[in-house]
């Protein structure tokens, strides 16, 4: 048995301690150790973005980050996005625009879009499409996702 490492971090605003093997990815830690299964594994090599989370305010593929790397750092996942007051505007707009079909890529898209809006509160459609190029969706064709992001950022988007 590989020796486990004790890691202290902040996950979704809460101080969180966990034990993990040095080889474990952050995605594995979130899903298997902390039971936060909202971050999905689509490829496990950084191509699809389904595992997107925020690490100290930066968007990362959690399958490409080691669990031990988050020691002393802040992680935000899809589970932490809604507040007791309600859904995050992105979540709300994804619902209103029917921006999801099977939904397995949705948490990753929402986290990626949040990272964009944190940096660029009013992105153009081109900026949204470029920024979301790291996230794959096989069901929707992306249009409604792009619309939801534009709408959440208060940018007018043409009706469907």
């Amino acid at each position: 048995m590989t020796k486990k490492v004790h890691v202290q971090s902040t996950i979704n605003g809460k101080a969180t301690d966990f034990l993990c093997e040095p080889r474990q990815s952050l995605l594995e830690v979130l899903r298997d150790e902390l039971r936060l299964t909202g971050s999905k594994e689509g490829c496990n090599n950084g191509n699809c973005g389904a595992c997107n989370v925020m690490l100290d305010g930066r968007l990362v593929n959690s399958c490409l980050v080691l669990g031990v790397e988050v020691a002393g750092r802040k992680v935000e996942t899809i589970e932490g996005l809604a507040t007791p007051q309600g859904l995050h505007p992105l979540q709300q707009k994804f619902l209103e625009h029917a921006s999801l079909q099977c939904g397995i890529c949705t948490p990753g898209f929402i986290m990626a879009a949040k990272a964009l809006m944190d940096k660029t509160p009013k992105p153009s459609e081109g900026e949204v499409r470029h920024w979301l190029a790291g996230n794959l969706c096989r069901c929707t064709g992306y249009d409604k996702i792009v619309r939801a992001v534009l709408d959440a950022s208060g940018c007018p988007s043409p009706p469907a």
């Binding site: 899903r31 039971r35 936060l36 299964t37 909202g38 971050s39 999905k40 594994e41 689509g42 490829c43 496990n44 090599n45 191509n47 699809c48 389904a50 996942t77 899809i78 589970e79 996005l81 809604a82 859904l87 979540q91 994804f94 619902l95 209103e96 625009h97 029917a98 999801l100 079909q101 099977c102 939904g103 397995i104 890529c105 949705t106 948490p107 929402i110 949204v128 499409r129 470029h130 979301l132 190029a133 790291g134 996230n135 794959l136 969706c137 096989r138 069901c139 929707t140 064709g141 992306y142 249009d143 409604k144 996702i145 792009v146 469907a160």
Partner: protein, 762 residues
């Protein structure tokens, strides 16, 4: 009766809240006490015989709870629902890179991996058979001992093709090639097996056909179907790729052996290597027409590489032949269909079942024909298009066919087809712009002569809340949403009052597979039928209570309405009273696609008779220096019969077009000597947000008589079908060079240009 309320409104899926908050559970998210991790050992060879298979060392590893080989399967060691010829675990020979050899279950991922490494297999590599044309020749050797390499060889003829060809003014004759394509559902295949206290098993399955999975799992375990329960959790896409069973059977076998829960999920590389691909076709096609552009004959020969096992090869080739004439009146047609076994990847169902390959052929032929005749591509299609009442070459008489020409005209109008001359064709010396169209039809439902029915259970509780049990798997296409809308509408309650239980074979009756765009027709109509006796009970109580005649009463929005005016009585109050009186508030609804007794004889067996018509027009920009093609604009006009959930319909069109763009330009599984070279989403390139052009859509609603009373046709498959030929024809328009092979990569565009430099646009 369907004219207001939930139906036709843009609604979000009942599970959407759970999805956007990360709470929705897919197979990989399921966890049970004592759960083990299952894994399969796959063949690294395309073809080899197994000299030795020893799992002793693997079984000795602490934490390994079960290791299975073919010898440990209690029931039948073969699967596939139509012709079970694929081994669950091979006995003595692997026949493609992806055949499973052994299965393990261990306490965690690492231990399971260690068990796989500890399995001692001695392979003796054999010469594989990889070229379907060579495999057809005498003396080629057999891919499967005792079975002919030619898995299927059928010819269908109607009319007099030879005479029609002899009298033709113009003939186009070409050979087309299509590629292996990968579904790339973002959730890979998975299953979780659990052993029940009574020795039965429960399996959570990421699938399209839970009741059929139940049959296959029971067969493998040697259990009666009554002891097997299949439940579908959230499913992350399928597109035909989960129509056939995959690892859910192995998960059940492992759980049964280990007496503990087992979760078995394929990794992305395993997924690409092991599940079916869209069949690659080689098609030789001759299309003949008169001087004025009327089609006289189509003669085609299709050879497909099926891989070693049958999967849906018969069905795919059958659909190819059914649609090779396109949505056109063709009196003389001959289609020869040949499927060949090889040691290449297995092939099967993928959105459209052979219709996308057929459309690439017939719509390319139409544009080549139009060029030869100097005709407008729109005019030649309108001239030959089918209409209501047209008898197709399959013998099917089109019941509702106005959408064929209507979709062409509407798409042309939206694109501004008449202003083609004003298109800025050459924005720079090396750039060429072009427009191309494709119009297609695709049938919905299983086809006449095949079982095509569904049943649902509907129950209203005393508080007016409704539970709907349906066996229809929702893989993201949205059938749960549609059924909830229909139940709400039919019972006069809000959609939020309806809970649709995701398919569970222990509770829901069989709805058949979620395939062939059929569920909205069969399960949708089954809900309408199930609602009738419940609504009757509620209205009966209402009539008794109010003393008003029943025909003046309507249930709507959770409330009774009298002569159109809202009444104090709520549906919940009526439900409570109905239960008190003992009136039934639960019902089974069953619907079967029934063909009228006087329907004419269909000569092409198992033809579908409900048609999704659609037209797409693409604008491309071709870089003549690099060969790169950008799709700049795309117009899509589709007939849905009747839209239940417009958001879902538009979503299917957008998603289908995106997949069609990938199929047209980038997606190709590269296989050398049976080995897949790009088993990753890094180099099997599916479209991303940047690759999708400005999309302009319209949906026609021409209710389908066969699917009455609902009138919906299903929309799942048609959107992917015209995209590739529309882009092909746009490239032809842009550079004056035809392409005959998919995908139309930069390399292939350049080699088409090599034959002659960029032609000046006509």
């Amino acid at each position: 009766m369907i004219d207001s309320g939930a139906v036709g409104r843009w609604v979000s899926a009942p599970g959407a809240y759970d999805i956007v908050t990360g709470k929705a559970r897919y197979c990989p998210d399921l966890d049970f006490p004592g759960m083990l991790i299952g894994k399969l050992l796959y063949s690294p060879h395309a073809r080899a015989c197994i000299r030795r298979l020893d799992v002793t060392a693997a079984r000795m590893i602490p934490g390994v709870i079960a290791v299975l080989t073919h010898a440990d399967i209690p029931g039948e060691n073969s699967y596939l629902y139509a012709e079970p010829d694929q081994p669950l675990l091979v006995v003595d020979e692997v026949r493609f890179q992806g055949d499973a050899v052994a299965a393990v279950a261990a306490i965690d991922e690492q231990t399971a991996d260690a068990a796989l490494r500890a399995i001692d297999v001695e392979y003796q590599a054999l010469d594989g058979i990889f070229d379907p044309l060579a495999a057809m020749q005498a003396g080629a050797g057999q891919v499967v001992a005792g079975k002919d390499n030619i898995m299927m060889h059928k010819t269908y003829r109607t009319g007099d093709v030879a005479a029609a060809l002899a009298s033709a003014h113009v003939i186009v004759e070409n050979t087309y090639r299509t590629q292996w394509a990968e579904h790339a559902f973002l959730e890979t295949e998975g299953g979780v097996g659990l052993v029940d206290a009574d020795g039965g098993v429960t399996v959570y399955s990421s699938c399209q056909a839970p009741h059929r999975d139940r049959m296959q799992i029971a067969r493998a375990l040697g259990l009666p179907e009554s002891r097997v329960r299949v439940i579908t959790p959230y499913i992350g896409g399928a597109f035909g790729g989960k129509d056939e069973a995959h690892v859910q059977i192995h998960a059940a076998l492992l759980a049964h052996a280990a007496r503990r829960p087992v979760r078995l999920i394929r990794g992305r590389r395993e997924s690409i290597l092991t599940h079916v691909k869209r069949h690659p076709f080689i098609v030789h096609c001759i299309t003949a027409a008169t001087r004025d552009g009327r089609l006289l004959a189509v003669k085609a020969r299709a050879i497909v590489d099926a891989g070693p096992y049958s999967n849906a090869t018969h069905e795919v080739l059958n659909k190819f032949g059914e649609f090779i004439g396109g949505p056109y009146t063709v009196k003389n047609l001959e289609i020869e269909k040949i499927a060949v076994r090889t040691n290449n990847p297995i092939t099967g169902a993928f959105r459209g079942f052979g219709a996308p390959q057929a459309a690439f052929v017939y719509e390319s032929q139409m544009d080549d024909l139009a060029r030869k005749l100097g005709m407008d591509p729109l005019e030649i299609r309108l001239l030959n298009g089918v209409d209501t009442g047209t008898r197709m070459y399959t013998g099917v008489v089109v019941r509702e066919g106005k959408a064929m020409k209507a979709s062409l005209r509407r798409a042309a109008e939206m694109m501004g087809w008449q202003q083609r001359g004003e298109l800025g064709r050459q924005p720079a010396t090396h750039l060429r712009r072009g427009w191309g169209m494709a119009t297609i039809l695709k049938g919905s439902g299983m086809g006449r002569g095949l079982p095509d029915h569904a049943a649902v259970l509907l129950e209203m509780h005393r508080d007016g809340s409704v539970v709907l049990q349906s066996g229809a798997a929702d893989m993201g296409q949205g059938i749960v949403t549609v059924l909830a809308q229909l139940a709400a509408e039919s019972l006069g309650v809000e959609m939020s009052s309806v809970h649709v239980v995701r398919a569970d074979t222990a509770q829901a009756p069989d709805a058949g597979a979620s395939c062939a765009s059929r569920q909205v027709m069969v399960s949708g109509n089954a809900v309408l039928r199930a609602a009738v006796p419940i609504r009757d009970s509620l209205l009966q109580v209402a009539a008794e209570k109010t003393g008003v005649a029943r025909d003046r009463l309507v249930l709507h929005g959770g409330r009774l309405h009298v002569d159109g005016q809202a009444h104090d009585l709520t549906v919940a109050e009526l439900a409570r009273r109905a239960l008190f009186r003992g009136y039934p508030l639960q019902s089974e609804g069953r619907y079967e696609l029934e063909y009228p007794a006087d329907a004419p004889e269909v000569t092409y067996r198992y033809s579908q008779e409900v048609f999704q018509f659609c037209t797409q027009i693409a604008q491309v920009l071709v870089d003549c220096e690099t060969g790169q093609v950008a799709v700049e604009r795309l117009v899509a006009v589709h007939d849905a019969g009747k839209m239940i959930n417009p958001g879902g319909v538009y979503g299917q069109i957008e998603g289908g077009v995106a997949q069609g763009i990938g199929y047209a330009l980038t997606e190709e599984l590269r296989v050398t000597e049976g080995h897949t070279l790009n088993a990753s989403l890094e180099n099997y390139v599916i479209p991303m947000a940047l690759d999708i052009p400005e999309l302009e859509m319209d949906v026609l609603e021409m209710p389908e008589p066969l699917g009455a009373p609902l009138g919906a046709k299903g929309i799942a498959e048609s959107p992917i079908i015209p995209t590739a030929p529309a882009i092909r024809n746009a490239i032809l328009d842009a550079i004056g060079r035809p392409l005959y092979q998919l995908p139309m990569t930069a390399e292939r565009v350049l080699s088409a240009l090599d034959a002659a430099p960029c032609a000046d646009p006509a």
